[in-house]
Each structure stands twice: as C-alpha cells, then as structure tokens.
Symmetry: C2
Subunit: 353 residues, 2 copies
Amino acid sequence: MTGRLIIALDAMGGDLGPEIVVPGAEFAAIRHPEHHFILFGDEARIAPFLAKCPKLAGKADVRHSSVAVAMNDKPSQALRRGRGQSSMWQAIEAVKNGQAHVVVSAGNTGALMAMARFILKTIPGIARPAIAAIWPTLRSETIVLDVGANVGADAAQLVEFAVMGEAMARCLFGLERPTVGLLNIGVEEIKGLEQVKEAGRLLRDSQLPLEYCGFVEGDDIGKGTVDVVVTEGFTGNIALKAAEGTAKQLSTFLRLALRRTLLSRLGALLAFGAFNALRERMDPRKHNGGVFLGLNGIVVKSHGGTDALGFATAIDVAIEMARNELVAKIAADVAEKNRLTELPAKPLIVASA
Amino acid sequence: MTGRLIIALDAMGGDLGPEIVVPGAEFAAIRHPEHHFILFGDEARIAPFLAKCPKLAGKADVRHSSVAVAMNDKPSQALRRGRGQSSMWQAIEAVKNGQAHVVVSAGNTGALMAMARFILKTIPGIARPAIAAIWPTLRSETIVLDVGANVGADAAQLVEFAVMGEAMARCLFGLERPTVGLLNIGVEEIKGLEQVKEAGRLLRDSQLPLEYCGFVEGDDIGKGTVDVVVTEGFTGNIALKAAEGTAKQLSTFLRLALRRTLLSRLGALLAFGAFNALRERMDPRKHNGGVFLGLNGIVVKSHGGTDALGFATAIDVAIEMARNELVAKIAADVAEKNRLTELPAKPLIVASA
C-alpha cells in the first residue's frame, strides 16, 4: 500500500496516556509527514498536549471517549466496561470500519488483545493470534513470537506462528526469504517438547515456501541465528523478560564499575561517545512495538512505560506493517498453508467379496 | 558434615577432559587442602597432566577406566555402552558405594543425568530429579530450577522443585529461610499455565516451612527478587540460555563500541580496572556448577566448555553441598512435605438403610 495512511492511536493507553502518545505522534508526523492520526481519548486531557505539538496541527483529529481502560483491568472486565465506549475499543473499531489502517496502543496488553480479537476477529484458518516482539541481536533484529498472547500451543499452532512471523519478517526486514527456527532445548531432532518436535516435522516436510532452519536454542536469539524464532507464549514471554532483566543487570554493573575509581571515571568520560553508541544500540525505545498477528487488522502494542520517542517507534512499526500489507500477506500464506496441508481425500475401501 | 571429603571426578568429561579436570582439581586442592580427589578415566591420558600439578600430589588417586562417554552420545546409548565401564559411570558409582561424598563431571548432561538416576535412584517421595543453576543477579545469586532435566512438570513436581531448591539455597547461601518464587508470565494469581497456578495454590496453602513469595517474572531472576526461582525444565533452560545470549551480545557490543575511536580506546584503557571488575563479576566460570537435585547422592555438572578455574568452581559448589548435607536436608524436607500434604483418610460412607 502506498500513499496516505490513517493511524488510530489509543491516547489513554500506557502509564502516562496522552502525555507520551501525543508527542509520540508528533515525532512520527515529522518522520512521516504524509500520514494522518486519529487520537482516541479524553479531549480535555489531550488538548493541552496537542497545543504543545504544533507539528501535529492539521495532521491529527481527536475523537472523544470518556472511558479509559486501566493498566490493571482484567481483560474480561475491560471488555465489559469499555464495550463501545473506551478509547481502546474505539481505536480498534476505527480499523474494523476502515476509518484507519492500523491502531497503536500502549495500554493493557491483555485487554488490547481481548478487544482486538473480539472486534477484528482472527483471519480465516488461524486458530489463535500471537504477539510478535522485535528482539535486537548481534546481527540486527529477530522477530520472536509468541511472547504472551497465549499460554501453550500445539504443533499446528506453532506452524501458524511460523507462517505469520515469516510474513511479518518480509514486511519489517524487506527480506524475500526470511529464515525461521523453532525454539527448543537442543538442536537435535529427538530433544524437547512433543509439540515442538511435531511442529518441526510438519515444517520440514511441508511444501510451504518457508526457509525452515530447524531448532534453535535460547542463546541463538541474541546471536541472530534466524530471522524468526517461534515458540509458545509462556516460554516466549519468560525468555524475553529474562533477556531484558540481564540487559538491565549488565548496564547497572557497568555503571557501578565505571564509578569506582577516579581513573575509571576519567576513562568513562573519554569513552563517552562509545557508551552513547552502545546505549543507542540497546535502547529499548528503538525496538518498541509488539505486533498482534493473525487478526483482520493491524494492532501494534507499545510498551506501557515507554516515552514519546519509544511510542513513535511503535508507530513506525505499525506504518511498515500497513505499507507492506501484513494482513493480506498472512491471509494468503495461511490459505496456501491450509491448501498444502489439507489431507488428500481417503480412497474408499472396497470390501472384498 | 565436617572433616575430609572425598570428591569423585569424571576426568574424561567436557570438551577437553583431563586437560581441564586435573588442573581444576589442583585449584580446588589449593583452596581446600583437607579434601581428597579420585580421578576416574584413562590413566595414560591423565598422567601427563597430573605430572604438571604438583599440588595435587598425595591428594588424588587415579582409577583407570577405558571407556569415555562422548559429548554427543545419546543418554540411552551412553547408559548401554558405558555400563559399569565408563569414567562417568564409575565416578557416580563411587558415590553410591560410599567411596566418595560427591561427584563432579563436565560431561554430556543427558548421559550424566540418566546414569545418576539409574545408579543413585531418586530420594523416596521425589518423582523426578531437577537440575539447578546458579544465576548471578543484581543482589548476589539466585538458584533457578529446573533448567533442563525434564520437559514439562505438573503442579506436584513444581512443589517438589521448590522444596529441593530451598534446601539447596540453605546449603549454598547459608540462609535460614530463603525466599522462593514460581516463574510465571505475570504476578497476578489468574495468569499463566494451569499447573503453575495450581502449584502456587499448593505452596500458599501448605504448612511447609518455606518462604513462598508468589509468582515472579522473567526479569525478576536478574533482579534477584527471590533466592529460588522454580520453573519446569523447558522454560528454565530457554530462559537461562536467552540470558546467557544477551550477556554475550552486550559484551560484544561494548567491545566494538570501545574500539571505534582513538578517544574511546584511551578511555577503555584508563577504565581497564573497571572493565576487569565487571568481567570478574559476570565471569561464567564463577557461576559454574549445575546441581542435580532429588537423587540419593550429590552430582554436580560443570559446563562442558569451561576451563580449569571454572571446573574448580563446580568442585567448590560440590563441596558446599556435601558439607551442608544437601541430600539429608532434601530427604527430610520431602518427608515433611509428604506428611503435610497427605490427605486425611476418607471417612467410610455408611450406606443408609
């Protein structure tokens, strides 16, 4: 898709709501002056931030909604309470109604997924949607899914995740044949969970136009061994957070170590540019944006605690997904997968006399 | 247990066998001159390394065995081929026969677990043994289990892992009441896998003398939120490797960043002490030693690719476990758990006339 995109933003989502969403939209508007934004949320709370963002003028409309989903609402509660009324609901509905091409929210993940599923429905042939994270690696970036939309997945669902993640990698990285691996506790075919081994067999034996590279282990994610790493949501979520925890731990250790002596402080001062480059490279704001895959519409989840710059990154991701027609790609790939994996009709057994 | 310990070493295990095991034993002998070592393996291959380790003289015996388990042997194959013959088998058997207090091997993890289970058997009341890793954290260290002995675990097994991990924390950290958390994808009680939620209920409602702190998330491991993190082996293994991958990735990025300009190189030179301190703090050789929990004997697995210093750390861990009578502690705790969780006998239902 080329031309002007309309981007629906849930202005009330995230820890700070409009305070980061509105300036985040302005950053995005500067980068992508051709697109347009619709801010869903409390007009009175949005207005003062909008007034401080002159570069959004003429590029953003506000649609008032009086209900905001809280970060700690249970999904079922948010669905009931926010039904038709909340900024989150209305922003998703704008995609459903064709008023917007994509929606971005920094709100409650569980509520966002529940509403998105309810309003947009899954693409025919997809059992369950997944959340894909963009993971910085030694080589560049890797897509990891599912990172928490579901708990548990059977072999067929893992294959669906592989197909969806591969389509996203083509959209995001511009690759023709992204490589795909299944996350496991060893690379040998005999190791691991039954459903992972079965998914491996299905992917290996399928005629799918998909570059399946076998099993990968936890440390292969950071190495960037493959472009897409497939796992079920429980393990994916824990791996993602364990890695985030380690990154924070190391940067804390580094900071403490550099403060220890006068000499190391001087060294740190001289190497300031290097540390800045490192910080930039690992900046979580530059890898922000969980993409909901498998729905009839594009929903991007920003980290709830990010700032305007981070929120703008999530908008960038949303724009890439819309420009490259993620939903159409997934729908076509899933249809192809189902055509290929459909069992041939069994021959009638003719009873011998 | 006080006094002299006898430590059985599988001299053929690991990527380099006796080349690291023998000098590793020497490092340990220098630190713990009161203890004694038995080196199991090929005498001809061990001898030249032993000759280079004068401080092991009089503190180590060699027991010849002609078979070595290969790092890529399947557990069933190693069990068959190495039956009674391999250095790994004989080292474990020494613990079984009371000739040694503890065994350390850097060999094939799957084979070591299969043999240890076969020879030592599980402690009565324990369904499945687990492997516990020592994870460096912002605060100090946390025990994480299971990191790969099993794939999947039900609620009762997770409770067993909690009891065993807590006993190990008392041995390793010298704490009276270590804190225990269950790894999950959210801290709310409604989130996550059914068996994790059920284990949470069991731990919360039990009368066990165990400081259960509820659910923890992936990033809580690196923060050191609790002393013991309990999970099943698939997720635990992937979380551990994802964190290791991230640590390697960051140190590579840091090295590259510091090489970029002359100024940053000069800075790195001045801050050399700080980087050294950081390297020391994160040195995987200082956190080496996976402890097999739930067996009638102490088995410590060293990383297969470590060096002599790393192997000596695994020996340190083994000594702590033996000194603090890990097996007896676990056996007592499991008996207590089973006493508490035993269901009261059901009253007979008297059929009414």
